[in-house]
Amino acid sequence: MGALPVEAEGLVRRFGDLVAVDGVDLVVQAGEVFGFLGPNGAGKSTTVRMLVTLLTPSDGVARVAGFDVRTQAAQVRRAIGVALQDAAIDPLMTGNELLRLQATLHGLARTAGRQRGAELLERVGLTAAGDRRVGTYSGGMRRRLDLALSLVHEPEVLFLDEPTTGLDPMSRVNLWEEVRSLNTERGTTVFLTTQYLEEADQLAGRIAIIDGGRIVREGEPAALKAAVGSPTLRVQVMPEHTELARAALAAFGEERPTRPGVLAVGLEGGAGQMAAVVRALDEVRADVESMELHQPTLDDVFADATGRRLEGAEPEAPAEGAA
């Protein structure tokens, strides 16, 4: 496939006076997992609905798998797989029946459709539930079936709209595994919308943050986080050693506000300075009780871009590299 999986230029969608999407430019490269991150109502779903031909753009151009979403909608639909958050699955049908129906809609012959359905059920771990009605499935099972349905025709580009919203943490991790293996084993390009920072961080090689219908940041998560600033090192020492430690840490960067009894410093040299910090604290004989390195999170990136914290954002978790 020579064409870019997704490219959009100046995409706009108005609903009456409301501008839901206000000039979005996007480029998604073949084989990447692209995370489209933003709070509720930011324009994520509206953008996706335009890309999957369910909504006509008010302005701008978008091409998906090389086809114009406006003038070549039929070709777009054949090339993409879609799992929309708010598109329900008929609870009266079984998983097998839905897969066969989807296969027929995509033009697979009966036997090919059946074989493909069985493969996909196995892939998402629903073989045993294949003949049960979807009404009896748990939320996680439905999302996995939804993923299987979107893969029936081996799409070039897969659109997953908030695939784990409302799932318990266990099911969420399972689904992430599926998406990851799809991408690495099959090279499927994935366009993922999410309101979960962690999800974007875990899955996406590149993300765009949308807010108020505009893209406010775009790039690799690590680079975006690095651009926000240096990681924060938090050190807790014996109370009587606090001043000793503060003096030692001053050499590594500016002190940052934190809880009482804890010292925090912006590590200008990044995680690579950790060994030097440990040596410096050892030299002044400060007894260290704990030490944590916090990388900037995507929430910090979001806050930096918009001045607000992402709605429903998880509390900051200790990042990789904690000592």
Binding site: I80, D90, M93, E122, E154
Partner: protein, 276 residues
């Protein structure tokens, strides 16, 4: 799942996957019919209520057949047979359109239109569900009415006309209601149309003979096509085979089907143009 099996299935190369609108329509019809069997609670009332209505009317108004001017009928039950079937089909086809509206509300419709399905296949699937239900209703009513002593004077030919009319009427009314479902996208809107269609049946000769009507009501009933259909059927039930009656009884719902389907397709295109 390996690359080999996928290649063997001819996937990934979209020119090797030909889309078949007929197969799509068949698959969606299959879904609608399976849905009927899996959620019978949705349409069982469409059989039970008209039967109760017929039983009560026959008990209450049974002697109406003796009124001078009333068409010659063995019983009021025989007289009501066509109206009862029409009533049941009306309930059933509104149910089919409600299912379509429900698909729109729940997002299943979006799931369909995001796939390369032929747009008309979505409508065909729903109407097929209505048609199958119409046929079931006709067969059940022939059996139940026969069990209670009603007799179709036109014999086997007449008994065959009944399901044909029921199926065509189910498609026709189902299509009209589907147009409403597609325009409103709301189950409530479809169900609120019920009284309107119901009145069009009451404003016909369905439950009372035109011979005994007067004034404006007589005029309305005379020009109401439902009357033409019901009187055609009624002659087959009460009197005997008459090709002209059979033809009229079939022609009316056939025309409603054609017009209704055209209207529904237009509504479908409108919905797709406004959302897609």
């Amino acid at each position: 799942m390996t690359l080999q099996t996928s290649a063997a299935l001819g996937l990934g190369h979209e020119h090797e996957r030909a889309l078949h609108p007929a197969a799509q329509a068949r698959a969606l019809s299959g879904r609608a019919v399976r849905g009927l069997f899996r959620a019978p609670q949705v349409w069982i009332p469409s059989l039970v209520f008209p039967l109760f209505f017929a039983a009560l009317s026959t008990a209450a108004l049974g002697r109406a057949v003796e009124v001078p001017g009333f068409p010659a009928a063995d019983s009021f039950l025989d007289f009501l047979f066509p109206a009862t079937l029409t009533q049941a089909v009306l309930f059933g086809s509104l149910g089919a359109a409600s299912e379509l509206a429900h698909d729109i509300e729940s997002g299943f419709f979006d799931r369909l239109i995001a796939s390369p399905v032929a747009r008309s296949a979505i409508l065909v699937g729903r109407l097929a569900g209505a048609a199958v239900l119409g046929a079931i209703q006709a067969v059940v009513f022939v059996v139940v009415f026969s069990a209670f002593g009603a007799e179709v004077k036109a014999g086997v030919g007449g008994m065959l006309v009944l399901p044909v009319v029921a199926v065509l009427l189910a498609i026709g009314l189902g299509a009209v209601a589907s147009a409403l479902a597609l325009r409103s996208g709301s189950v409530e809107a479809v169900q609120s149309a019920f009284p309107l269609i119901f009145i069009s049946i009451f404003a016909s000769a369905a439950f009372f003979p035109r011979e005994l009507m007067r004034g404006w009501f007589h005029a309305v009933a005379t020009y109401n096509p439902i009357t033409w259909m019901i009187e055609g059927l009624r002659h087959l039930v009460l009197v005997g085979w008459h090709t002209r009656d059979a033809a009229t009884a079939i022609a009316v719902p056939a025309v409603i089907s054609v017009l209704g389907t055209a209207l529904a397709l237009r509504s479908l295109r409108k919905r797709l143009a406004s959302t897609s």
